[in-house]
């Protein structure tokens, strides 16, 4: 009797499992791991990223009228039987070692098919190393250090422009505006935080300044999250360059503007490498001090005419976050969109298939919310069609001033006055 019972049980189990396995062939959901700062000094960036990613996954997975976006039809990943894209979050606390550990955990325990993230470039370095070792695609959405994609990595992709593309746009803008107004930029002061983002950014700025024959009047690397930046502000005042070019995160951005104001120094022009300077918290905290600041951006909220999806997506984000999309959150949206498009075209959750689909990505700009030419990766995994814009703060809001085809106003130019 015992034997029969065991045999029946075995049969039942076998029958029980077989149909379930057949269902698994087309997965119900596809898991992607996002690594962001969810606690610590950059916690708000992570919280905003989560809301932005929620918005685009709702667009991809939900049932709704088609939107003018790649993957904007809704209903999940069509080539995977309508599987839903699900993003699981991990916290790197802006610490490269924690980022490495969380990347490993997501891959080995949560079995994600790809990684996305991570805002700070220092954490992108370690995440990309883990992705390379485990052979899982890593899509960097909002990291801008130029060195990231130049390490011969096979599994690294970046939708965002990097700081060389951004900085080139700044100097092109200087040249064009200088010619138009007859008041060219003769000197710049570099002011950058002491991690990979700031140093990479400043290296490019130095190179391009030299090429353009612009003098680097001050070259100041500062300690991030300092209690005081008074002495640093003093050195900037002493240099008194035509344009101050800061690269830093939100906290220091707020503090340096105040510190300069306290010692009665107002630079003639500020051209920021986005990051903290594009954050709403910075604009709110700085108020009138931020008026007239230029910043590079990969996003133009005011480009709705040529990018019709901006209105809907921004409204969805606004409902969650209570603020508009910015340079960071918009890049997270286009990043997830690109990855979903690749997984869908791959029609598979195998990492190698997804990687191959990513290399074949070709999304035209008007199928995104970005003012770019589009998304198309070169052999190093860098999106070569990401074309940045220059914006200026007017009445507490960033307005696009360059290049001419997406500009909504003329820049206010105080250099040489």
């Amino acid at each position: 009797m015992k034997h029969i019972a065991a045999a029946v049980a075995a049969l039942l189990i076998a029958f029980g499992i077989t149909p379930a396995r057949a269902q698994n062939a087309a997965p119900k959901e596809v898991l992607v791991g996002a690594i962001y700062p969810l606690t610590g000094n950059a916690a708000q960036i992570g919280a905003d990223a989560r809301m932005a990613i929620d918005v685009i996954t709702e667009v991809i997975n939900g049932q709704h009228a088609p939107m003018p976006l790649a993957m904007g039809g809704g209903g999940g990943l069509a080539n995977l039987g309508g599987a839903k894209l699900r993003v699981v979050f991990a916290d790197h606390q802006n610490d490269p070692q924690k980022a490495r550990a969380e990347a490993e955990r997501l891959i080995t325990q949560d079995k994600v098919v790809a990684l996305i993230g991570s805002y700070t470039s220092a954490t992108a370095v370690t995440i990309s190393q883990v992705a390379e070792r485990y052979e899982i695609p890593y899509l960097s959405m909002d990291n801008s250090s130029p060195s990231l994609h130049r390490r011969g990595l096979k599994w690294f992709f970046r939708t965002s422009p990097h700081d060389e593309m951004f900085t080139q746009a700044m100097f092109d803008f200087f040249a064009e505006t200088g010619k138009k107004t007859g008041r060219p930029v003769r000197s710049v002061a570099l002011f950058y935080e002491d991690s990979i983002f700031g140093t990479d950014s400043s290296n490019v700025q130095k190179k391009l300044a030299e090429a353009a024959g612009i003098k680097v009047a001050a070259d100041i690397k500062y300690r991030a999250n300092s209690p005081s930046l008074s002495a640093e502000a003093q050195r900037l005042r002493a240099a008194n360059a035509d344009v101050l070019m800061p690269s830093g995160y939100t906290s220091d951005a707020i503090l340096i503007l105040r510190s300069m104001q306290e010692i009665g120094y107002k630079p003639r022009a500020i051209m920021a490498q986005a990051a903290g300077y594009q954050e709403q918290a910075f604009l709110t905290a700085s108020g009138p001090l931020a008026e007239g600041i230029f910043s590079r951006s990969s996003f133009a909220l005011d480009a709705e005419k040529s990018r019709p999806a901006i209105g809907t997506i921004n409204a969805m984000f606004r409902a969650k976050a209570g603020k508009d999309l910015n340079d960071n959150t918009s890049r997270q949206i286009v990043g997830v969109q690109t990855l979903a498009d690749a997984i869908n075209r791959a029609g598979s959750t195998k990492p190698e298939d997804i990687r191959r689909a990513l290399t074949a990505t070709d999304i035209p700009g008007d199928q995104t919310i970005m003012p770019w030419k589009g998304v198309k990766f070169d052999e190093m995994g860098q999106n070569q069609n990401a074309t940045p814009v220059i914006q200026q703060v007017v009445n507490g809001m960033y307005r696009t001033v360059y290049p001419a085809d997406v500009a909504v106003m003329e820049p206010t130019w105080n250099v040489g006055r």
Binding site: T39, G40, N41, A42, A43, Q44, I45, G46, A47, D194, I220, K221, Y222, R223, N225, S226, P227, S228, L229, S230, A231, E232, Q234, R235, A238, T250, S251, I254, L255, R258, Q261, E262, I263, G264, A281, F282, T284, A285, G287, L289
Partner: protein, 291 residues
């Protein structure tokens, strides 16, 4: 490097140093009283800044006028922390030192997490207060009024703490510090004294926080920016010495400012830690320490 620049940097260093001193005063007081290093000190500063921010946003009451309110709130928080946590941690039989470290460290993580839960991770600041973004100029040297006011308040707070030490309560504090078991024999309730000591320490950092928010941003992790400097200040001045905290704060403020002027600013903490290491090597009890 013109004389104005040097004067400007020295003044910035002095003003910042007095604020470091005030932040460190509460830490020093608590350590001197009961040998407990409060790892949640930076988080108390953060709470004080948020308290001021919230009251300002709700009522428009200027941070300067809020000083007594925030000091009292933090005094209450200090007493509550002692009664609820530290007093119990002092009562354990084994590994008392480790338990105290874990209790205050855990408290720090809890407060930070709670702050992020309640107020979110964004950076906030008070704008439109009387002192906001105002400076006075003398012969090409600018003195930011928020920092000037904070320094004045710092000196007043130190005077207040010294006055307290002259009172009956101050003598009880001193006696409890000397021998916490013997004071019980003469009718001093040491738990009561310790709780008030925590209240005073937290109240001092409350005053620092209320002044700091007039020119600095607040976020859940802002405490860390000041806490490390506070520990160095206390160790440099001598654990438990109020005067030591004052002098050490000013030294650190000046050293930091001067280092940032002559070296690459990203290395500016080198000067401060070099002074600290030198003190550890040649005078381990700190400049004014009695331990």
């Amino acid at each position: 490097m013109t004389p104005e620049i040097i004067a400007q940097v020295l003044i910035s260093g002095l003003l910042m140093g007095l604020i470091y001193a005030l932040v460190a005063a509460g830490l020093s007081l608590i350590f001197g009283l009961m040998d407990v290093v409060n790892f949640a000190h930076g988080e108390l500063l953060m709470l004080a800044m948020y308290a001021t921010f919230v009251i300002f946003a709700a009522t428009g009451l200027d941070p300067v006028l809020q000083l007594p309110i925030v000091a009292l709130l933090l005094f209450g928080a200090g007493v509550a922390i002692y009664r609820g946590l530290i007093g119990r941690a002092l009562g354990v039989q084994f590994n008392r030192g480790t338990v105290q470290i874990f209790v205050t460290f855990g408290l720090a993580i809890f407060i930070r997490g709670a702050a992020q839960f309640i107020w979110g991770g964004d950076f906030r600041s008070v704008s439109g207060a009387w002192l906001s973004n105002r400076s006075a100029e003398f012969a090409g040297v600018f003195i930011p009024l928020p920092q000037l006011a904070a320094s004045a308040v710092c000196l007043l707070a130190f005077a207040g703490l010294l006055l307290v030490s002259r009172t009956e309560f101050g003598k009880a504090l001193e006696a409890t510090r000397e021998d916490r078991d013997a004071v019980a024999l003469i009718g001093i309730d040491r738990n009561h004294v310790f709780a008030l000591g925590w209240g005073l320490g937290a109240g001092a950092v409350g005053i620092a926080g209320a002044m700091l928010i007039t020119f600095y941003y607040v976020s859940p992790s802002v405490g860390a920016n000041f806490a490390v400097i506070a520990y160095v200040t206390v160790a440099l001045g001598g654990f438990g010495s109020m005067l030591g905290a004052l002098v050490a704060g000013v030294i650190i403020g000046e050293v930091e400012a001067i280092t940032a002027l002559v070296l690459e600013p990203s290395l500016k903490q080198i000067g401060m830690f070099a002074v600290y290491l030198a003190v550890l090597m040649f005078r381990p009890r700190g400049l004014f320490g009695r331990l």
